[in-house]
């Protein structure tokens, strides 16, 4: 199989994945090769618009000659590498990772988590009813988005999106360490006392729903959130000349949240506060 590169031609790297020849452009990861050939490797901390921190370890694979398993999302393919994605050893680690996560945080709004838990035969309950959990009540301190860190898997995506990879605001960071590590602003203050500019780019990249629109959070709480009944319309932000693409999520003729296409070459899914949250005027039907 071959992952076809667009843009400037690059040298191709030849290696094998599960015994099959694979060719990817130089710089591509093992995960890129897996996806190009239609293999499903679970990923949680990897995101299409960010350099992954390879912290979740859900995507680990075996590489010949390596003492430990390697994260497919981050390891670049090298010529002659022999990769095996579906061995008992790799599957074991993935299963344990899923069990560890599901036993400590709420994965109910993490897309695909339930499927992978089933596929890998993970049994998060086996650590017993007393297994320590990330017990945090949702932080609701502003009208735009909610931080429910009992769903946080510490993938670092929000930190990277807020910090050096996109927004350059550095309003959030990881504090504490070990199991007590949390995403936080300085001194665990409310968001409104932080440097946050409410671009919502952290919400855009959060893979678990730990960060969510206040509108979505409220509707979920009220039991009225219904993704199946929503339509998505991609349009152009009308506020300023940048012209970012917006995807309006509409349920019952109301905009319930705004995301942005990740494949847009200019914005890569990022917006500013106006584009992301300033939609109320559309539905002021007064």
């Amino acid at each position: 199989m071959t992952a076809v590169p667009l843009g400037v031609p690059r040298r191709m790297v030849e290696f094998t994945v599960d015994g099959e020849e694979a060719r990817v452009p130089e710089g591509a990861t093992i995960l890129d090769a897996c996806r190009a050939s239609g293999k499903d490797v679970p990923t949680l901390c990897q995101g299409d618009t960010l350099t992954p921190k390879n912290a979740c370890r859900a995507c680990v694979v075996e590489v010949e000659g390596s003492r430990t398993l390697v994260p497919a999302c981050s390891r670049r393919a090298e010529p002659g590498m022999e990769v095996r994605t579906d061995t008992e050893r790799a599957r074991h680690s993935r299963k344990i990772v899923l069990e560890l996560l599901a036993s400590s945080v709420d994965l109910s709004t993490t897309p695909k988590a339930a499927d992978w838990i089933k596929e890998y035969g993970a049994k998060p309950d086996r650590f017993g009813p007393d297994a320590a959990r990330v017990d945090e009540s949702p932080k609701i301190d502003n009208d735009l988005y909610v931080r429910a860190y009992d769903k946080c898997i510490l993938c670092y995506k929000c930190v990277d999106a807020c910090g050096e990879q996109w927004q350059n605001t550095f309003a959030i960071s990881v504090s504490g360490r070990g199991f007590d590590a949390r995403i936080a602003v300085e001194h665990d203050a409310p968001l409104t006392d932080s440097a946050c500019v409410y671009c919502g780019n952290c919400v855009e990249v959060c893979p678990t729903g730990a960060l969510s629109f206040k509108s979505e959070f409220d509707m979920r709480a009220a039991g009225t959130w219904n993704e199946a009944a929503q339509t998505r319309t991609t349009t152009v932000c009308a506020y300023c000349g940048v012209g970012c693409n917006l995807t309006l999520h509409v349920q019952d003729n109301e905009i319930v949240k705004v995301t942005s296409p990740h494949d847009n070459p200019v914005t890569h899914g990022n917006l500013c506060i106006k584009g992301r949250f300033g939609y109320q005027h559309v539905q002021n039907r007064g």
Binding site: K53, N54, A55, C56, R57, A58, V60, T68, L69, P71, S74, R89, H92, S93, K95, I96, V97, L100, L101, S103, S104, R126, F127, G128, D130, A131, A132, I153, L154, G163, N168, T169, F170, A171, I172, S173, V174, S175, G176, R177, G178, F179, D180, A181, A184, V185, E186, H187, A189, D193, S194, A195, V197
Partner: protein, 610 residues
């Protein structure tokens, strides 16, 4: 950057603590008081890029505050951030990473009481209870139970730190309730620590190589160091040239003593040949592996040896700047090394023109702040750079992209000190010591149930039994922990294991950093294992799931079976194995990968729960 510094104002004292490190602010942009604002300040912003490039002063800045005030307030952190152009959320993330810092008010005096393996075996629990009973609320002392203080030969141990200008410290070891309370309540009048040589039972033995000067030389005198052969190795290095030094070190067969046993010559060669510049040298003096105290004894007893050895390593690998990363719990080693570096600098042995050879090299000492993970080589880089001490993914490796993204050679204290005899006696003579694959002398930190705990130097190849006899092992030995908390237990009938890298590997265990902890049958094994699990859970950086959550699940399982055996423990032991396997396979760094070694070995080799 959208910097937002909040409303907190530093007190005068907090401001003074930061300014003592960074100098006074040059403009109100950097946090000078409003009334000091000069007309010029209104026209351009200072700080910015220039200040940001000194991000690595964040950790020293946090230390400055913690040393002077005892904790780090919002106003103080905000001021430090303003001075360095660091986002406060990041600085908060860094401050909360380290065990020795507090972002909540606490008394000026903190008494760190070790509850780790050797100290627990020596009665740390009763000691803590006694101290806490004496130093109740309102005593002005905060008692903090914590991991190994690196004083295991004098277990149980306590370290008092009293904030102020200057910060005062006192050690009580072996600690009594009275001794520890005195150290905390009057650190200035606490009895002085015994000399470093007291930790070397062989002190004065003419057959010693690495420890030969400890107890013989005056650690504060450069002249005395030179009178005892100091700086002959550096002269030899200048004769040989960088390539010649690397050849000698390679031929000597020296393997790293920090735990991973990587060939030092290969590491040096790989760094030296990197086209990217500058190159950095880092000395890993973090030594936070429970049961390890050899680096402390060298640094306290023979500090100039480390300065000389670092100079040689830097010269060989083309580095002009060296960092010595010292664990925060070693105040005496810090004082001795600061003095040694200053002396060497004053005498032209560090600085622009080392020994008049036209080669520039200097050393900066950086203090850790209570985080075992910062001994991992890439976590150490992050820590120096002012980030959270989280390990980086490899590749790229440090020799290519290390400290500040530049080629870096990082070595353990003991490894570096071995370079001196390699150069003075020659690679051949050095390689003749020890065995074919483990060459040279090796330091072992012996503690626990022995009559003469301390640092022992033996040529590689002596057996575990021989070492234990030397240290006066007591009767009714139940188990020996080899290689520290990340190592493994062996049985009393396995004492013929040769103490070499290959010998321990063949025996299915590890030499690690040279820890040998003996436990007699009065020590309750399951409690010990629980303490090891607790250590790793506490020290996990939290970055990756197998380690962050795995260490918690393992500790929970060990709690459940602490008083169980056989079939009643079987289910949890199976669980431990499954989680341990994933931790070993899928964790990012060596901490998670080895966290379960000791417990597994206790189950398999000692039959801990049978």
């Amino acid at each position: 950057m959208d910097l937002h510094f909040g409303d907190g104002k530093p007190t005068d004292e907090e401001r003074a603590a930061v300014d003592a490190l960074l100098g006074p602010p040059r403009s109100s942009w950097e946090g000078a008081a409003r009334d000091d604002m000069r007309a010029a300040d209104l026209r351009w912003a200072r700080g910015g890029r220039e200040a940001r490039e000194r991000r690595d002063l964040l950790l020293p800045g946090l230390h400055a505050l913690n040393d002077r005030i005892g904790w780090i307030s919002e106003g103080a952190l905000g001021y430090l951030c303003r001075r360095l152009t660091v986002p406060p959320a990041q600085a908060y993330g860094v401050a909360t990473f380290y065990a020795m810092f507090s972002v909540k008010p606490r008394p000026a005096t903190v008494l760190h009481v070790c509850t780790d393996l050797a100290c627990t075996a020596a009665g740390a629990s009763e000691l803590c209870a006694g101290i806490e009973a004496r130093l109740g609320v309102g005593s002005g002392v905060s008692v903090e139970r914590g991991p190994c203080l690196g004083l295991c030969e004098r277990a149980p141990a306590a370290l008092a730190v009293r904030a102020g200008d200057p910060v005062r410290t006192a050690v009580s070891a072996p600690a009594t309730v009275e001794g520890a309370v005195l150290a905390a309540s009057a650190p200035d009048s606490a009895p002085v620590e015994p000399p470093a040589a007291m930790a070397v039972p062989q002190a004065g033995d003419p057959s010693l190589t690495l420890l030969r000067r400890v107890g013989v030389v005056d650690p504060s005198s450069l002249d005395d160091y030179r009178a005892h052969g100091g700086y002959t190795a550096l002269r030899r290095a200048f004769e040989l040239g960088p390539a010649g030094v690397i050849r000698e070190v390679t031929d000597s067969g020296l393997l790293g003593r920090g735990g991973a046993a990587f060939p030092t010559g290969r590491k040096w060669q790989a760094t030296a040949s990197q086209p990217d510049h500058p190159h950095y040298l880092v000395c890993n003096a973090d030594e936070s592996e429970p049961g390890t105290f050899k680096d402390r004894v060298i640094m306290e007893g023979d500090p100039f040896a480390l300065v000389e050895a670092m100079t040689i390593a830097a010269y060989a690998t083309g580095a002009h700047q060296g960092y010595l990363y010292l664990r925060g719990e070693y105040p005496r080693a810090l004082r001795r090394l600061e003095h040694a570096v200053a002396q060497a600098r004053a005498r032209g042995l560090l600085g622009e023109d080392v020994l008049g050879q036209g080669y520039a090299f200097d050393i900066e000492i950086r203090r850790g702040a209570g985080a075992y993970i910062c001994g991992e080589e890439t976590a150490l880089f992050n820590s120096i750079e002012g980030y959270r001490g989280e390990p980086r993914s490899k590749p790229p490796f440090p020799v290519e992209k290390g400290l500040f993204g530049k080629p870096t050679v990082e070595n353990n204290v003991e490894t570096l000190v071995n370079v001196l005899p390699i150069l003075t006696t020659g690679a051949q003579a050095y390689a003749a010591i020890g065995t074919g694959r483990s060459t040279g002398p090796k330091l072992f930190c012996v503690s626990g149930s022995v009559d003469r705990p301390g640092v022992y130097e033996l040529p590689f190849g002596a057996t575990l039994g021989e070492l234990l006899v030397l240290a006066g092992v007591r009767d009714r030995l139940r188990a020996v922990l080899l290689g520290g908390a990340a190592g493994g237990f062996v049985r009393p009938d396995e004492l013929d294991i040769p103490l070499t890298f290959e010998g321990t590997r063949e025996a299915g265990t590890t030499l690690g950093s040279g820890v040998v902890m003996a436990f007699d049958d009065t020590v309750p094994l399951p409690r010990l294992l629980l303490r090891i699990a607790e250590f790793f859970r506490d020290e996990s950086c939290g970055q990756c799931v197998p380690c962050r959550v795995g260490t918690v699940r393992q500790e929970e399982a060990l709690h459940r079976i602490v008083e169980r055996t056989g079939a009643a423990a079987a289910g949890d032991i199976a669980l431990l194995r499954e989680v341990g396997r994933a931790m070993r396979d899928a964790s990012i760094c060596g901490l998670g990968q080895t966290a379960w070694n000791a417990v597994e070995s206790a189950i398999d080799r000692l039959g801990a729960y049978e």
